[in-house]
């Protein structure tokens, strides 16, 4: 996997794992690869994956069961909340891009409303 090596790697792993869930690669309650498996696959230091998993657990997005592995949370509310948070973050960035491109305020408001209905 390619990383943007100018940003902390663990944050990008977190985003990637969340992306998998939003895209339906893994559903609620599914087992995700172990730290070592994912580190090999992504060609990163296992400690970095462990840190990303730790953060995701703290957010309630992942759950580790001793001796069984790591799983996506079964709590769909947590997933939905996170999806909304990331969506609004992306919209904010997109709106900034639009401003930079000289799109006028009224049009931007229109686009924003359309996107928030998703």
């Amino acid at each position: 996997m390619r990383f943007d090596i100018e940003r902390p790697i663990y944050l990008q792993i977190e985003e990637r794992v969340k992306g998998w869930v939003f895209a339906g690669v893994y559903g609620p309650g599914d087992r995700v690869p172990s730290v070592r498996e994912l580190a090999k696959k992504m060609k990163v230091n296992p400690n970095t994956v462990a840190k990303a998993y730790y953060e995701l657990e703290r957010e309630g997005f992942l759950v580790t069961k001793r001796g069984e592995g790591t799983f996506i949370t079964k709590d769909e509310k947590t997933i939905e909340k996170e999806r909304k948070r990331m969506l609004s973050y992306r919209i904010k960035k997109f709106v900034e891009d639009l401003k930079e491109l000289g799109i006028n305020e009224r049009k931007i408001e229109k686009i924003k409303k359309m996107m928030e209905e998703i």
Binding site: I5, E6, I9, K43, P46, T48
Partner: protein, 230 residues
Amino acid sequence: MSILKIEKLYKKFPKTVALKNISMYLTPGRCYGVLGPNGSGKSTLFRLIAGLERPSKGKIEIFGEKPGYETKRKLAYLGEGDTVYPWMKTHDVIRFYGSLYPFWNHGLAQNLVEFLEIPRNKRFSELSKGFRARVKLLILFSSGAELLLLDDPLSGIDPASREKIVKTLYNFWNPTHQTLLVSTHIISEIETIFDYVYFLSKGEIVLKGEADDLRKRYKKSMDEIAREVL
């Protein structure tokens, strides 16, 4: 407990000072990078840690002991030189080093012969530089040592072997048993392996920190930071 502790280390040669006021602290299960251009003192530092040379001033402790007979069994060192006997074939290498290291992992050695595609019937002296480097890496990872020193493992190696070496680091490093200390001047190819990095310039540490923290602070890759500070 620290795996390696270095305090105010100096190494002077008759005409130059190779290392000035080096302090480092390594904890278990992490990968540390020593990044710097050729001639910055990386190899001297590694030779001192491996116990191949003595410091002029300062202290080195490996598992709480001075470099010597006891610490040599707990660390494995891969340097520029060819330390393997030229007549050895792969099975000789495995038998010889297997008897040398008390915690040698025979199964891992066999897996690495496969993974690194090391020819079984060639003598060490008949191998290309890239394949000699692969054999040395096989010894390092199979040694069972807790501290692995890799001094510029990619230097002067052809691209195919470089890729194999990098993959071996990612696939075979086991943080629960091993701590890595890797020096390199080719940073971009292994920049995601480091937990913590020391930037070395003219024998001094000019910058150090957690790799992800430095990325956050500088909004740059290790490679770009190196070009800025070195």
